[in-house]
Assembly symmetry: C2
Homo-oligomer: 527 residues x 2
Amino acid sequence: MLTGKNYIGFDLSAEGDTTYRTFNPLLNVENPTIFSEASEEEVDMTVTLAAKAFDAYRAISGVQKADFINAIADEIMALDDELVNMYCAETGLPEGRAKGERGRTVGQLRSFADLVRDGSWVEATIDTGIPDRTPLPKPDLRKILVPLGPVVVFGASNFPLAFSTAGGDTAAALAAGCPVIVKSHPMHAGTGELVASAIIKAAKKTGMPNGVFSNLNSSGIEVGVQLVKHPKVKAVGFTGSIGGGRALFDLAAQREEPIPVFAEMGSVNPVIALPSALSEKGNEWAKNYAGSITLAAGQFCTNPGLIFGLRSAFLDGFIKSLGEEIERLDPNCMLHPNIHDKYERGKSELSSQAGVTIAASVESGVAPNYATQRILTVDGDEFLKNPTLHKEVFGPFSVVVRCKDEMELTTIISNLEGQLTGTILGSSEEIYKYSGVVEALHGRVGRLIFNGVPTGVEVCPAMQHGGPYPASTDSRFTAVGVHSIKRWVRPLSYQNWPDIALPDELKNNNPLKISRLVDNKFTQDAW
Amino acid sequence: MLTGKNYIGFDLSAEGDTTYRTFNPLLNVENPTIFSEASEEEVDMTVTLAAKAFDAYRAISGVQKADFINAIADEIMALDDELVNMYCAETGLPEGRAKGERGRTVGQLRSFADLVRDGSWVEATIDTGIPDRTPLPKPDLRKILVPLGPVVVFGASNFPLAFSTAGGDTAAALAAGCPVIVKSHPMHAGTGELVASAIIKAAKKTGMPNGVFSNLNSSGIEVGVQLVKHPKVKAVGFTGSIGGGRALFDLAAQREEPIPVFAEMGSVNPVIALPSALSEKGNEWAKNYAGSITLAAGQFCTNPGLIFGLRSAFLDGFIKSLGEEIERLDPNCMLHPNIHDKYERGKSELSSQAGVTIAASVESGVAPNYATQRILTVDGDEFLKNPTLHKEVFGPFSVVVRCKDEMELTTIISNLEGQLTGTILGSSEEIYKYSGVVEALHGRVGRLIFNGVPTGVEVCPAMQHGGPYPASTDSRFTAVGVHSIKRWVRPLSYQNWPDIALPDELKNNNPLKISRLVDNKFTQDAW
């Protein structure tokens, strides 16, 4: 049952004066529960509790952390229809998507549980001493990754489960040994509270310290700002807009002690359709891309917002097919009236730019909050000189850019902002033939895709979800996959430390049987 | 032969109006060469050239990069006495130190050459596809670390070789595949130019692109500011003061595209002398620490600036011995009159704080630019309430803090700023007995040392040289050891990319025979 309260560790609390409700975009009405925004005092209490919990939590074994994280997955599944219904009521997304995203969320949690149960992720590195080395003895040095401290996670509007309360950022931080404070996304506060209740249940069942997890409601920016500025907060995870992510990055950089902010922000995910893709499979790609552009009303950070081709009759044919496919599809409901309004404004703004033609558009006959898809076309020279056309429009929308030649295309790609993904449609031979274009794309993205669509972010170790700014604030890390744990840890070295007092991961006899780099060789042996 | 000019890639250039000379602190006179500071146009030309070189350099094989880096080491050794003499003339440090630091520098370069020749450092990660997975096919994903782009390196005043022109930051960035622009340290511009000439020679001999390395002279902040703000610069390495490092960090964070700054800054390197260390080995530690405090006139970032003990007759005995040992040692010449002045000001400021007693001091009879060592003592309660006493005084200087009990000691340690190192002197049993103190220290440092001195930073994979702010701007990275390469790289994923067009590190048949994580198992096999 929803309470509308904040979880300050294990305790429910609602001391603040500000309240709000979530919105059902399908029914175009507010949902019933009244949520209480965390007060300044509640925020401070929460961080203080998390900092205290850190001392206990970071010392807990990997096996115990794995049990905790698996228990979170179990408790999320136990919420069953209550969670699915709440998710749908707060997003307008269909039940199938809710269940799919729940599966992804639970899968992510279990993959982090496996990671910390195995234990090798700490990158244990041992250089044994040489006491009789001349002129100076070589000390015994042993390095391990240790957690940074309390992490604040900002939930994403478009992934209430997989990138929010118990999403990838939270799972990675808890696995790392960092307590987590979630700044709940106001659009799905109910979903957030339910998932938070699952995490709290799991924490209690598995004996975790009070404060290992908290969930704070907020309808504006105040709670988030206070959290990021709090001296006891040591890192921040964010998924959302460039404006929001950059504001948090700036706040964190201006602190007396700056802290890392990993913000996964906007991306227009350029797609380059090389000649053979258009001449041989133009209709097929048009159909695939119509699906990718409109999937979940285009509310994905990997939505293909820009498609580039060289001017030709085949490109014109592709644009025509894409338009027909797009117009054939039914519009979908967006997450919230605010997101819908922003989509409509962005769509209009780009549509009214010089040289832009509307290639396809769905205009009428839809309910409130439904996004009507649109495809624009523009020539390369106009695109190159107009930064407005480079902007992300969050929704079922894409711009096809018609380039006059390879040089113009290369120049355009070289001048794009950083992106999560870049896609090449074509043949293997064309990767070489258009190597300048491909090389330019290589420098602007976190993930290169060949003959596919950018939507669909597989959760696996080889996934890079992040990219050069503004795709993310630090391209050196990923937000998806187990390697995302590296955002929340730092190396700590022990020099000549007594074996008995070392963490198990670094002891001579390797009691955890983890893989370690010992004197520059990987081994699971004791030594 | 010195020219006093900048290296803009392979070309010597001196277009600017500002000139300066370096200083011989032993002789207390300026050195003869006139250096030309890089002009705004020269800085811009340099970065443009580096960005162009990046396209070629990042595609060069690991083996070729290894040859280049080893050639740098060879060319540095070939400079022979010319380099050693220049080093001594610009620092006042003795020949033995010059040769030792040269050995360290060359050793670092060779360890990075070995790393990139082996090739496994790119953390190649492969998740093979499952085309018939339902409901959606699993794509083939392959991830590799790729270089960020041109890196600016700021040389350190106190390590003209090991942390400057061809020092750890440069070696790591070149190994990563990033062109390097060194902002030469004005105190040792001659040493810098000689080393730069060695790098340029090596680049030409091994066929590296023009612009892979440049060396810019500068006497003020303008060149550095322009470099950090330049849109084509993608990362910054710095070793020096908190003020300098923070200013660069702020500039980089305020850019339209923020870039990572790894600044290794100040540290006072707290040492906790537990009771057994004082009662059983007080005199021995006093002698060791007198040596560590005064080594190279205390001009090390790992110099032990704070020593803590619990009040007792043994602590008093230790202070007395430390004082006697300190007063017995001859003062050493500092690097530059400015550093000497700053030392004297810092020493005076701390000596005049409330509750502070001078336990030992060398006062007179020394030449200009020589640092006269001093030890202060203060009680824990005074230390706790006076932030001035927490400040680093760069030189042969240390404060012994007498704590009334374990609780006061724990509180003090918990409230210290972030540090490069923390040292425990005592017995294994005391690590448990004083676990609160040790745990508090654990949270504040990058390296924990048992029964040793913090000076001496071993170059090996298990070394962590960095720590919570302000020891460094990002505690998640190290400045020493081969893992420092991670500062300059980002992951890039390839999805369903044709095998023939993948980098060798990710090809099915593993032609480089590197270690890779394939479907979650480490292997050197093809598959």
